[in-house]
């Protein structure tokens, strides 16, 4: 590919202490470049070590053969994930070992220190005592928290139980009401009621006919029914329309 690619390089010098710091005393200036030199040398040493490590690991990596067969993309992805997981595991294992080593070093240093120092007055002892006190406080507060949480849990359980009981009661009420309604409906539709209704109707009709007959009897006899209060009452009662009852 012959694409036109511009390339520009810009550089910047190291600025470890070189850029306008506060003015120094002349006598200290002689020590300054030596300090800088040692600092720089230490820096370079660390860098070279790290870079050497990188090159070595690349050489080791190149010695391992990569599988050249053509695999599907999914398989390649799966393989890559596997390898990444291996890297992660190696890293964590290393970190664990480093931690264990640090702890061992710390404990030996601590032991040596304790052997040298007078136990009653050292600052370390004060720190340890403070730590123990704080730990006790922490444990106490944690226990209190735990108790409170238990209480909260109990209250919540009770609330749930009450809710469930009320739900059951309401359900019962509802079923009862529904049963009543159903009974009522069925009653209305039952045959007995129909038969009774029929009977009632025929009776009403018969009574109405008898009423009319009596009415006509009294009117036909041309008696003055308005004068006699008992007769008047009878006539008026016959006027009552029985279907309205």
């Amino acid at each position: 590919m012959e694409t036109q690619s511009e390339e520009q390089a810009v550089t910047k010098p190291a600025d470890s202490g070189g850029e306008g710091g506060p003015p120094q005393v002349a006598g200290a200036q002689a020590a300054r470049p030596e300090d800088r030199m040692t600092l720089l040398l230490r820096l370079l040493r660390a860098q070279t070590k790290q870079q050497l490590l990188e090159y070595k690991s690349m050489v080791d990596a190149n010695e391992e053969k990569t599988p050249e067969q053509i695999m599907q993309e999914k398989q390649i992805e799966a393989k890559i994930e596997e390898l990444e997981n291996e890297v992660e595991e190696a890293k964590t294992a290393f970190e664990m070992k480093k931690l264990a080593l640090d702890r061992m070093q710390l404990s030996t240093a601590l032991k040596k220190h304790l052997e040298k120092v007078d136990i009653k007055t050292s600052v370390l002892m004060d720190n340890m005592k403070q730590i123990l006190n704080l730990n006790k406080l922490i444990m106490k507060s944690q226990q209190e928290t735990w108790d409170l949480e238990e209480k909260l849990l109990d209250v919540r359980k009770k609330r749930l139980q009450l809710k469930q009981a009320s739900e059951r009661k309401l359900l019962e009420i509802q079923t009862e009401k529904n049963k009543q309604k159903d009974d009522l409906d069925s009653m209305e539709n039952s045959d007995k009621i129909k038969a009774i209704q029929q009977n009632l109707e025929t009776e009403i009709q018969i009574t109405t006919v008898i009423q009319h007959v009596f009415q006509n009897l009294i009117l036909g006899s041309k008696v003055n029914w308005a004068e006699d209060p008992a007769l008047k009452e009878t006539v008026l009662q016959l006027e009552k329309n029985l279907t309205m009852i």
Partner: protein
Amino acid sequence: MSALRPLDKLPGLNTATILLVGTEDALLQQLADSMLKADCTSELKVHLARSLPLPCSVNRPRIDLIVFVVNLHSKLSLQSVEESLCHLDAAFFLGKVAFLATGAGRDSHCSIHRNTVVKLAHTYRSPLLFCDLEIEDFRAAMAQRLVRLLQICAGHVPGVSALNLLSLMRGSENPSLEDL
């Protein structure tokens, strides 16, 4: 013209070189200036290029970190980056490559969807950084980040290697990447 290899040259003393690849010259220049202004104990060298492969006529030091700058506003930058990626040796992708997507702030101008760059970074297993290079403060912050990244990739930080950093950065990635 051969592909760029990561470890084929010896490193310079206390020197770290970064290569910024992208089609937006102004942005690259500004980013380079910000990086040089950032304080760092090692000597920094910033190389800019529009695309790979680089002409082999120039004598250049070992490149420690390559950052591909993709402007989300232009499809051309994505295309050119994708084409340049073919000219890199596979060993580079073990932590010495990073993608930088700029222009995500102005969503109305974005012609490339964010997921495209995310997928690209995922395919190449490299970290993806987002930064609006046009805003000064963000640029300065990103320059600082890149300087630290560069120091680690150049081996100037004892105890951390580029591959180590890669797996560290992967941990904070969005886990929904697997749904893509």
